[in-house]
Amino acid sequence: MLDTILYPLEWVVANVMVIWHWVWSAIGLDPAAGITWALSIVGLVITIRAALIPLFVKQINASRAMQVIAPDLKKIQDKYKGKKDQASREAMSRETMELYSKHKTNPFASCLPMLIQAPIFFALFRVLNYRLEGNASGSGSTEGIGMLTNEVAAQAQHAELFGASLSDSFFNSPGAAAKILSVVLIVAMVATTFLTQHQLTRKNLPASALEGPMAQQQKILMYALPFIFVISGPNFPIGVLIYWTTTNVWTFGQQWYVIRNNPTPGSEADRLHKERLAAKAAKRAAKRGEDPQAAVIEAAPEEESAQKRSGQRQQPKRKSRGGGKSQQLPVNDDKDLS
């Protein structure tokens, strides 16, 4: 059953790897060398992530469109300001999501792409473990797949990267070379995962999201994750570790770009982003021969006062509206009763 489901994916993974192997060989790398096959896996990551770039761009455009609905979003946030009980959180979340949907923009990446990447990872695991290694040891049903014929698979299996084969894992390898390489890659994998997490949580979350039990749990997990990898990593073939580390590096870079250019409002990254914009404005002013200090001062308080003004303007409305609406909404009725 699993064979049938994963066969098409294994076929794609194997073919992409062989095509990249052909590309690397064409530009002069030794076809039988381990580094060529390791770079083929890097190529696989590039192919998959490049194919996902349109989705990434779509998400960025969606977060740009967020500026249009920012006033409405603020209204909702003001309405539920200081209400920390579950029912109000739920009602706020409902209203926010409905607002996004109504304006056909949604800052979230959606669940499906993440789920699609997992089978690809699993398919690579199977290609390395069964098609390469199984092929070499002659055990099980391990005939070639797509362009990864038995001969090519045998070449890949015997290709050595620092004396280790791509299908070797820490627990399943003959020499010390594979064990050392495996440890190095596990450390790299843990480091890149941790850095990506750290970047996301410390820089791109608003202050409100950094408090409370959920944030606490996130923090604990961030530090616990390396241990999980240290336990599971030694079972992974070196090729899978290369794939994972490369994909982490890509994710980190992509996330860095998003955080720099489209930070979450109210986060540390947002503050830095605004600072950079202000500095740029000052530089431009200096070029034009104006007083740079004036430009910065002009730019900064304008924003602040705009926020203050809108806050003051909404305050009287907020109270009467919040009370009136809570009786109309069935969701809020529950909250009032409880």
Binding site: I69, M97, K102, A109, P113, Q217, L221
Partner: protein
């Protein structure tokens, strides 16, 4: 609840507690896909609930607009193309 429903529910809770906090919020809907799956399995049982959850995951793709989408009540139409958000009030917003 059947054993299958309990096992699935446990797996989803496990995901919510360990994997989900690490990836940050990413679901376009409310309730989120995993909460939807939990509720769907509670209300409709393991088989129908899982299918409902799978259908929701397919709709949570880059081309969807998300929004409020509740688990259909028993007896209601199960698999629909439009969202099940009758509970939401429609209010005018300033940005059109």
């Amino acid at each position: 609840m059947s054993i299958a429903a309990r096992a699935l529910g446990g797996a989803i809770r496990g995901y919510q507690l360990t994997v989900s906090p690490l990836t940050g919020p990413r679901c376009k809907f409310h309730p989120s896909c995993s909460h939807f799956a939990l509720e769907a399995i509670q209300v409709h049982g393991a088989a129908v609930g899982s299918s409902l959850a799978a259908w929701r995951l397919l709709r949570c793709n880059p081309w969807s607009n998300g929004g409020v989408d509740d688990v259909p009540a028993k007896g209601e139409r199960l698999f629909r193309l439009t969202r099940n958000n009758a509970a939401m009030l429609t209010e005018p917003t300033s940005a059109v």
